[in-house]
Structures are given as structure tokens and as C-alpha cells.
């Protein structure tokens, strides 16, 4: 019905349209009236305010970089802090001629002429009103020199900033790492929104690995600046409504490192190319982490000049090189306790079974003998005594019986041949050889073949085998913990600076090595105990009179292979860089271990027990004794310091 009524009425429709058009026109006028009244508000009523903003004064948004979290040792001693410093900053829009300005600053000696292209590249990526740092950490002399000529460089200003400061300079630098200016590569990795105003970022070690914890989040503040770019307080009569958002400071990190032990170890290793690591077997905490020589990380926070950088990278002792996680050395005899456990696991020998050592090992059909380090041999040795006297023949024999692949499979369970998973980047995996490895490693068919002789060298930690000091310390801690294994770690806890809340990080356990009979641990640990305590132990000199019982194992890694028919020479007769590396692993107290340590000294003046063991002893003493006990012991020793036992001719245990 309704439908039939609704026919098209052209006249009515035309009128309807006209009405609507009038309404639309009115609405248009209202809308445009709104815009015009808004314009009157902006341009007439608030004219003074906006005119000041645009002509004399402008609001500039300045990022406020967050305070970087501190790095503290396990007891709260600050290792990386923030210190005020002055830096030179350039604001593009206020500089007429950037080339002339930079050249002028180079002429007064504040920047290097060679660095100008780099600075210009950095400037290109920034907004015209951003203040871009062109020189960090000005000295007082430099501040004064610039201040005197400041009028020559409009748009360039000295600003106070917080920079990274490492109060102990070189100490534990390889663990902490360092910060440096943000590079192009860093920009790809970082969320640059949070780095507005930040000049430094972690480059290595804990500073790099925990960047997201340490950095925090940027805030901003609005600043009123006049035409010269100087900050001013007010706009005309009207105080501007300036916003400020506070930055969120980064979290503080508590390291596992104990600076008392760390510095004792550094002192003991001074002057050597060496490394030492100490681990708590109960949780994987790294108590000391030393690689010498070291370098001053403060240089990087300030920005290195080219000569400084070259001096660091071209130093033959390679101070930048982190020997703890990147140095790979043949483990030598330190591998013997693990080798013994492997032999027990595969049943090739029993602990009580004794081998007669004549001073050399011969394989059927091979004329070349494998010599023991002791020319006359050790006579009858069982497994424990073989470890204690470091009898090579015993281990040549059991290695030969096991074969390389079984050795590989067992030692891998101690973390050899793989990264330990420490919480800083750059770890080397070392080399735990196997037949499969050799096939892949060599191109020539003949070289790919595994010879039984290769295995015999592996038995005493030589040949193809090598490991990082961290791997050795990790394996030692595993033995000390009777199989309990943890990822080594440098950071123990994180403190939220705002709330003050400290969050302890949980240790990360790793699978234990398999043992058929837990008594195998007693044999390995017993052998190591005898090294330090039995009358025939190789390290008894270094461990004498300790207030607690030590278990250890010395090792000497050959750098220079002595031909089989040649008399072994005294270490002193070889060129320094061809001398053997001295190694020592230890843990203590032997019955309830609290610390496991590995020391590696490159091209040492004496062998493992002679040179590395006293250093390990020093580390153990510092950790396990009270400062008073330590002082007392030192006082006793002073009148007649026991000289490191002179290495007997040919000792390479």
C-alpha cells in the first residue's frame, strides 16, 4: 500500500534538494566560521605567544639520556660507574658553515683533522636541531681552550654529561668489557628511540651482554631556546607550559667476581701473558676472571685517538685479547683426571690395576717411543698414583685402549669442545678431536685418516686437543662438584635503581657427566688430592702448609715439539715464545670444595707445578682465608720464601 503511494514527484524532489542545499551551505559557513575563529584565536589572541615561539624563542625538545646502571662486584664494590664529564656538541641549524667550523675546532686541537669525515657522516643522519656530540670527555685544559674561543663557533657548545668511568681501570676489563661511541652497526641492533641523547653503548663483556639491563629508557624535556640556541626561562610575559618526562635509569648489576680474589690473581699474573679463572662449583659463579696483559677501558669511553688504537691492536702481547674465553691451549696433563674417569667408565682399567712405567711407551709395530716426562719412569703406578705423579705412560696406555672417539664422547660431557655458555659473548669452543672431526678438518685424503699415535698424544692432553682456560676451570669445577655442572656466569643479581629491589638470578644447571660407579669421582679427586699432598705429588711444593686441603693437577703444554731422539732441553734454552705454557687446575677445600680454579701462563719461565701452581695457591688462599690469616701466612713466609722448586731437568709433567 505504502509503496503505491510513493511515486516520484519531481517538483517536490527538486524543492527538497533546494532545502538540503541551503542547509548544506549553512553548515559549510558554520564549519568555515569555526576554522576562521580558530585562526583568529591562533593569529590574533595568541599571536604574541606564537610569535615569540617562532621568532625569538622556540620550544626545543631535548632528550634526557638515562643513567647507565652500575656494575658492582659480588660485595657491592663499584667497577663501572658514571662520572660527570664535558663534551663538545654541535647543533647543525645554528652553524652556517659546518666545514669551516670543524676545521676551526681541529685547528685549536680539540678534534683530529682525520676524524672530520666521520663526524660529518654522523651529523648527516641527525635532525637539524639535535645537539650531536663531536668530542667526548674534554680535559680541563681543552674546556678552557674552547671557552676562550667560543664566540668563533656559534652552534658548538660544551655540555656536561655523565660518562662511563671504570675506577679500577684495567682490573677485570675482559669480564666487564667497555662502552664506546654508538657505531652504525650498533644502530641496527639497538632501538634508537631509546638512545636519543645517549652517546655510549656496551661493546664487549658484561657491558655488551647486559646492554638492555644497563641502558634504561630515555626521557625528554622541552626547552625554550632563543635564536642563538641558548636555553631561556620565559616566553614574553607568558611562562610556557614546559613538559618534562624523567628518564628511567638502567639497572645495576652485581657481578659474581670477588675483587679481592680478582686483584690478588691480577697481581700474581702481572708481567705474564696469562689467564686465570676461578669458579664456585656450587653454582657456576665466576669468582675471578683474569686475562693479562689488560688495557684501560676508560680510553674507549673517552674515544681512542688513532695512535692509541694502533698501540693497543699492534702490541705483540695483545692486551685486547681475552685469553680466558678466546685463548686455546693444549690442556696437557690437566686432562688426566678426566681421562682416568673415562677409562673407568669404559672399563678399560680398574683403579687398583697397576701399570709398570719404564719411562717410555711403545706401540707394537711402531719404532718411535712415546716418552714419559720422567726419564727413568715411575715404576708401578695404579690410577691414583698415575694422576699424582702425572705418569704419562699410564695415560698413553689407557688412551690407546679407549680410542679417540670414546675419549671424545666422555670428555664432551665435561664441556670440552663446546662453549660453556658463559653470559658474555666471544667464547671459543677449543678442540676436542675425534675421527669425524679429522675427516672434516683436512682436505687431503691421507691427512684425514686417524692414526693410533694421534690418540696416544690425546691421552696427555697434547696433539690436536686444546681448550680455553674457562673450559678447564669449568671441568675442574665439575670434578670438584662430583658431576654437578653449571653454566659459568658473571652476573649474580640485578638491582632496579628506582625501587631498590634486587633480583637474584638463578644458576643454570647443566647435565652431569655419566658415571657407572660414583667411586670414580673418588679416584679422580683422590689423585688430585695426592698431587698436592702425597710425598710423590708433583705440586706438593706449591701447596705446602696450606690451612686447608687442596686438590690440583699441573700441566705443561708443549709449544715446541722435541724430536723423539733428542734430549729435552731446559726451558731457559729456548726462545721465549717457544717456551712451554704452564697450567694448573685446582679446587679447595678438597673435601668440601668452594672454589675451582684454572691458571694458564703462556711461555712460562717454569712448568705447571713450578710456576702456575703458586699462582693458583694465591687465588685459593685469598678466597678461603680471612685477610688476617693471609697476612699472618705471608709474614711467616717472608723470612724464608720457599723458592719455586727448580724444575728438574726434563720435567714437563
Amino acid at each position: 500500500m505504502a509503496r503505491s503511494v510513493r511515486i516520484k514527484d519531481h517538483h517536490a524532489e527538486s524543492q527538497l534538494f533546494e532545502q538540503r542545499a541551503i542547509v548544506a551551505a549553512v553548515l559549510m559557513v558554520i564549519a568555515m566560521g569555526l576554522v576562521i575563529s580558530r585562526l583568529v584565536w591562533l593569529q590574533v589572541v595568541k599571536y604574541d605567544y606564537f610569535a615569540d615561539l617562532s621568532q625569538g624563542n622556540r620550544i626545543r625538545i631535548e632528550p634526557i639520556p638515562p643513567n647507565r646502571g652500575l656494575i658492582l662486584d659480588r660485595n657491592g664494590l663499584p667497577l663501572a660507574t658514571n662520572a660527570p664529564s664535558y663534551q663538545l656538541e654541535l647543533t647543525k641549524e645554528q652553524v652556517d658553515d659546518i666545514d669551516a667550523t670543524l676545521n676551526g675546532i681541529a685547528e685549536i686541537g680539540l678534534i683530529e683533522k682525520d676524524d672530520i669525515p666521520t663526524i660529518k657522516r654522523d651529523l648527516r643522519g641527525r635532525r637539524s636541531f639535535d645537539a650531536v656530540p663531536i668530542k667526548l670527555q674534554l680535559s680541563e685544559v681543552e674546556v678552557a681552550r674552547f671557552a676562550a674561543r667560543r664566540h668563533q663557533f656559534p652552534g658548538v657548545e660544551i655540555r656536561p654529561r655523565l660518562t662511563r668511568y671504570y675506577p679500577l681501570a684495567e682490573s677485570s676489563v675482559h669480564a666487564i668489557g667497555y662502552v664506546g661511541a654508538i657505531s652504525e652497526d650498533d644502530k641496527k641492533r639497538l632501538n634508537m628511540d631509546d638512545y636519543a641523547g645517549t652517546t655510549l653503548t656496551g661493546k664487549n663483556g658484561v657491558e655488551y651482554a647486559y646492554e638492555d639491563q644497563l641502558h634504561g629508557r630515555a626521557g625528554f624535556q622541552q626547552l625554550l631556546v632563543n635564536a642563538q640556541g641558548r636555553s631561556v626561562e620565559r616566553i614574553g610575559n607568558e611562562a610556557a607550559n614546559l613538559e618534562r618526562k624523567e628518564p628511567v635509569a638502567g639497572n645495576d648489576l652485581f657481578l659474581t667476581i670477588d675483587m679481592r680474589v680478582q686483584q690478588a690473581a691480577e697481581e700474581a699474573l702481572r708481567g705474564q701473558r696469562a689467564s686465570a679463572v676461578a669458579i664456585d662449583p656450587a653454582n657456576g659463579d665466576i669468582i675471578a676472571f683474569v686475562s693479562t696483559p689488560a688495557f684501560d677501558p676508560n680510553l674507549f669511553a673517552r674515544g681512542l685517538t688513532r695512535p692509541e688504537y694502533l698501540a693497543l691492536t699492534e702490541d705483540p702481547n695483545r692486551p685486547m685479547y681475552d685469553r680466558v674465553i678466546r685463548g686455546v691451549y693444549p690442556p696437557g696433563s690437566t686432562v688426566k683426571p678426566m681421562m682416568a674417569m673415562a677409562a673407568l667408565e669404559y672399563g678399560v682399567v680398574t683403579p687398583a690395576e697397576s701399570v709398570f712405567c719404564r719411562g717410555a711407551y711403545r706401540m707394537p709395530g711402531v719404532s718411535r717411543p712415546w716418552r714419559d716426562w720422567k726419564a727413568g719412569g715411575h715404576g708401578h703406578v695404579d690410577m691414583r698414583k698415575a694422576i699424582a705423579t702425572s705418569c704419562d705412560v699410564y695415560f698413553y696406555d689407557i688412551a690407546n685402549q679407549m680410542g679417540v672417539d670414546r675419549i671424545h664422547d666422555y670428555l664432551a660431557q665435561f664441556g670440552m669442545g663446546a662453549i660453556t655458555g658463559i653470559d658474555i659473548p666471544g667464547e671459543k669452543i677449543g678442540l676436542l678431536p675425534s675421527t669425524a672431526w679429522k675427516k672434516k678438518a683436512f682436505r687431503r685424503k691421507e691427512a684425514q685418516m686417524w692414526f693410533p699415535g694421534d690418540t696416544i698424544s690425546i691421552g696427555i692432553g697434547q696433539g690436536y686437543m686444546n681448550a680455553t682456560p674457562l673450559q678447564l676451570a669449568h671441568a675442574t669445577a665439575t670434578i670438584a662438584g662430583r658431576g654437578q655442572r653449571f653454566k659459568p656466569r658473571l652476573v649474580r643479581a640485578v638491582r632496579n635503581v628506582t625501587t631498590g629491589k634486587v633480583t637474584e638470578l638463578k644458576p643454570s644447571p647443566l647435565p652431569s657427566p655419566h658415571v657407572d660407579d660414583p667411586a670414580a669421582w673418588d679416584v679422580a679427586i683422590g689423585g688430585m688430592y695426592d698431587v698436592a699432598n702425597a710425598p710423590y705429588g708433583t705440586a706438593r711444593g706449591a701447596t705446602a702448609n696450606a690451612l686447608y686441603k687442596i686438590a690440583g693437577k699441573s700441566g705443561t703444554a708443549q709449544v715446541f715439539t722435541v724430536a723423539a731422539n733428542e734430549k729435552m732441553r731446559k726451558p731457559g734454552e729456548l726462545a721465549e715464545h717457544l717456551r712451554d705454557h704452564a697450567l694448573f687446575i685446582a679446587f679447595a677445600p678438597a673435601d668440601a670444595p668452594r672454589i675451582a680454579v684454572a691458571v694458564v701462563v703462556e711461555n712460562a719461565p717454569a712448568g705447571g707445578s713450578g710456576f702456575a701452581a703458586p699462582i693458583a695457591r694465591r687465588i685459593l688462599d685469598t678466597y678461603l682465608l680471612t685477610p688476617e690469616q693471609l697476612a699472618e701466612q705471608d709474614a711467616k713466609r717472608k723470612p724464608a720464601p720457599p723458592p719455586p722448586p727448580a724444575p728438574r731437568p726434563g720435567e714437563t709433567e
Binding site: 514527484d9 548544506a24 559549510m28 576562521i36 599571536y47 617562532s54 621568532q55 637539524s128
Partner: protein, 379 residues
């Protein structure tokens, strides 16, 4: 004296001749002249806003010329053909929108372009014209005001392309397409009770859109509009800087090429979406009101022309085109002055950028064809 007489009569003859030419080409004289004036003002402003770039000015003038040609050519097409083409154009546009969705090129983070091999083309621009024309076509033989069923069909016909474009994502264009269709419905005499209920519906729709349809950056724009200081380093920066530019222009402006906000690059997108602020800074309130009055004249004249058109289709289509233009102007000036959130709508004929200008000129060509033809025939 005699010279003067000759001169004035020559002027008169030239004027009469021009008027006759315009009439013969079915062009509306006042509208045509106003559009040319807007184009001229736009070019002058653009030269300053582009940092005195002759290349950009030349490109803009070329586009204006192209637009003029499109306008003149479309004005020659008989209304009947325009009417019958409308639904076809709509269907083609819809198909292309779907194609863009699946195969389109991505430029500046948004999927808007369709590569036809020889030319890259934005189907959403076609829809700005096709949607209102198709709506007018749909209603032209039905009794008005439209029935509920018709309204539902129209709602779908407008809603689908709008959503497709909004998802590209191009909020500004989708708004204009929706406005184009919506204006047809409003001009067709949609009862006020419907209008009120639609406004009532908008609230829940807005809630749904906020949670499910809007992209993060679109939400951010709305949030920033409500509180520009919340994001002073990001999108709030646009609004703050554009208000400083306009406000500091005062009544008389800082003078051509002298706007410090614009010339020192404090004002972002100064040659495109925010060019209105450049006018404000350099020409002051006087310049802005002049520009607005010019735009109002164009809109008013177009509305007047559509009211004089003789059939429903022509009235609805041209009325919608006139009002869509009004939406353009209002949304752009509103966003630049901080009245509305920042949606990417350019200031017609002034902002640098090609496609929109040509589409607009084409729209005016169609409007002139629809409204001028009848007069000629009836005479």
C-alpha cells in the same frame, strides 16, 4: 579618447568572446575563473613552501594543466553517458581495490597503488568519483526521500569501498569516499530521524573501529590530536609546529618567502598536507581568510549549480561533488589548525601532489557537464 573607446570595446569584445567560448564548452564561467584563481594562488604558495623549488612548481603547474584538460573534456560528455557509466565505473573500481589488496605495490608503508603495466594508478582516487556517482545513479529513478531498503543497499555500496581503502591503509581517502556517498544520501532528503539514529550508531561503530579496524599509527594520530604533548618527538610535533607557524603569522603574515617556521624546515610536510600553515605564516590571517573565501565561493557556486540542475541524478551527483570538496577543505584546514586529528587529506589545488588534483578537476568537469548541459538544451 578614441583610443580609450577602441580599447574598452576591444576588452568588452574579448570578454564576450571568452564568455561565449566558455558557454560553448559547457563550462561555468564564475566557477572556472574561481578554480583558476585557486590554482594560481596554490602555485604561488607552493613555490614558497617547496623552498623555492622551480622543479616542484613546474610539476604542479603541469598537473594543473592536465587537470584543466580533464575537466574541459569531461564537461563535454553528455550527462546521460555519465549517468550510465557511473555503475560500471563503480564495479571496475571495486574490482581494482580488491586487486590492490592482494597484489598492489607498497609505497611509503601503504598499499595503494595498482600497477597496470603502463601506468601506476590509485583505484581509491577513481572511487572518490565513482561512489557518489553510483549512489546518485542508484537513487535517480527511485522516489525520494529514499526508502529503508535503498538506504541499506547504499550503506553497503558506500561501506565496502570505504573499508577496503581504510585497510590499505589510507584513512584520509576512505573518509572522502564515505563523505562522497554520504552526501548523496543526505542531499536525497534522508529524514532527520535517520540522521540522528546514524549519529547514535556512530558511537558503537567508533568503539569497534578503534579496537579492531584502526592501525596503530592511525590510533596514535587520534591520541596525539587529543593531547599533542603526549608525543612531542613524533606525530605531536606536526601539530605543535603547524600551530606555531600559523599563530606567529599574525594578521598580516611575515611576508612571502619569509616564514621562518616553513623556510627553516621546522614545519614538517610543509609542501603537502601542512601547506595551509605556510599560507598562515607568510600571509597571515588576511591570506588565510582570502583563501577560505575563495574556497567557499567555489563550493557555494557548485552548490548553486547543482540546485539548478534539472534531473535528480545531476542534482545529487553534483551536489555531492560540491560538498565533498567542502569536506576536503574543512578536514585539511581543521587538522592544520588543530581542530581535527591529523588525517592525510591534502588542501585541494594547493598541496603538492598529483593524483588528487586531477581527480578534483575531473569532478568539477563532471559537475559542469551535469549542470551546464541542461541549460543549453532548454535554451
Amino acid at each position: 579618447m578614441s583610443l580609450d573607446a577602441i580599447d574598452s570595446s576591444r576588452t568588452q569584445r574579448t570578454l564576450t568572446g571568452t564568455a561565449q567560448l566558455l558557454l560553448a564548452l559547457h563550462l561555468d564561467g564564475p566557477l572556472f575563473i574561481a578554480l583558476c584563481m585557486v590554482g594560481a594562488v596554490g602555485s604561488i604558495v607552493l613555490f614558497s613552501a617547496s623552498g623555492s623549488s622551480l622543479d616542484m612548481l613546474e610539476a604542479q603547474l603541469m598537473r594543473f594543466a592536465l587537470g584543466l584538460i580533464a575537466m574541459i573534456m569531461l564537461a563535454q560528455v553528455p550527462p546521460r553517458i555519465i549517468r550510465n557509466t557511473a555503475p560500471v565505473a563503480y564495479v571496475i573500481g571495486l574490482i581494482m581495490l580488491l586487486l590492490v589488496m592482494f597484489t598492489g605495490d607498497i609505497a611509503m608503508g601503504a598499499q595503494r597503488w595498482l600497477d597496470l603495466g603502463f601506468v601506476r594508478f590509485q583505484p581509491s582516487e577513481l572511487m572518490k568519483l565513482a561512489v557518489p556517482l553510483a549512489c546518485a545513479w542508484f537513487l535517480h529513478e527511485r522516489p525520494l526521500p529514499p526508502s529503508l531498503t535503498s538506504l541499506l543497499v547504499l550503506a553497503l555500496g558506500i561501506g565496502i569501498p570505504t573499508l577496503l581503502i581504510a585497510e590499505q591503509p589510507d584513512l584520509g581517502t576512505s573518509l572522502l569516499v564515505a563523505a562522497g556517498g554520504g552526501m548523496v544520501v543526505l542531499m536525497a532528503g534522508l529524514q532527520f530521524r535517520y540522521i540522528l539514529s546514524v549519529i547514535g550508531l556512530l558511537v558503537p561503530v567508533a568503539v569497534v573501529a578503534w579496537h579492531f579496524l584502526l592501525h596503530d599509527y592511525q590510533k596514535q594520530r587520534v591520541l596525539t590530536f587529543l593531547d599533542p604533548q603526549s608525543d612531542p618527538l613524533g606525530s605531536g610535533y606536526h601539530i605543535i609546529q603547524s600551530q606555531i607557524a600559523i599563530g606567529s603569522g599574525g594578521v598580516f603574515g611575515k611576508g612571502y618567502l619569509n616564514g621562518s617556521q616553513a623556510q627553516l624546515e621546522f614545519l614538517p610536510e610543509r609542501s603537502t598536507d601542512f601547506i595551509f600553515a605556510v599560507v598562515g605564516e607568510e600571509w597571515g590571517l588576511i591570506g588565510l581568510v582570502t583563501v577560505i573565501l575563495l574556497f567557499m565561493f567555489v563550493i557555494g557556486r557548485a552548490l548553486y549549480l547543482s540546485a539548478t540542475a534539472h534531473d535528480t541524478f545531476s542534482r545529487l551527483a553534483s551536489g555531492s561533488l560540491a560538498l565533498t570538496f567542502c569536506v576536503y577543505v574543512f578536514v585539511n584546514t581543521g587538522m592544520v589548525t588543530g581542530l581535527l586529528p591529523v588525517v592525510g587529506v591534502p588542501l585541494p589545488f594547493v598541496s603538492y601532489g598529483g593524483t588528487a588534483m586531477v581527480t578534483l578537476m575531473a569532478g568539477f568537469g563532471i559537475l559542469m557537464s551535469l549542470c551546464a548541459k541542461r541549460k543549453l538544451v532548454s535554451r
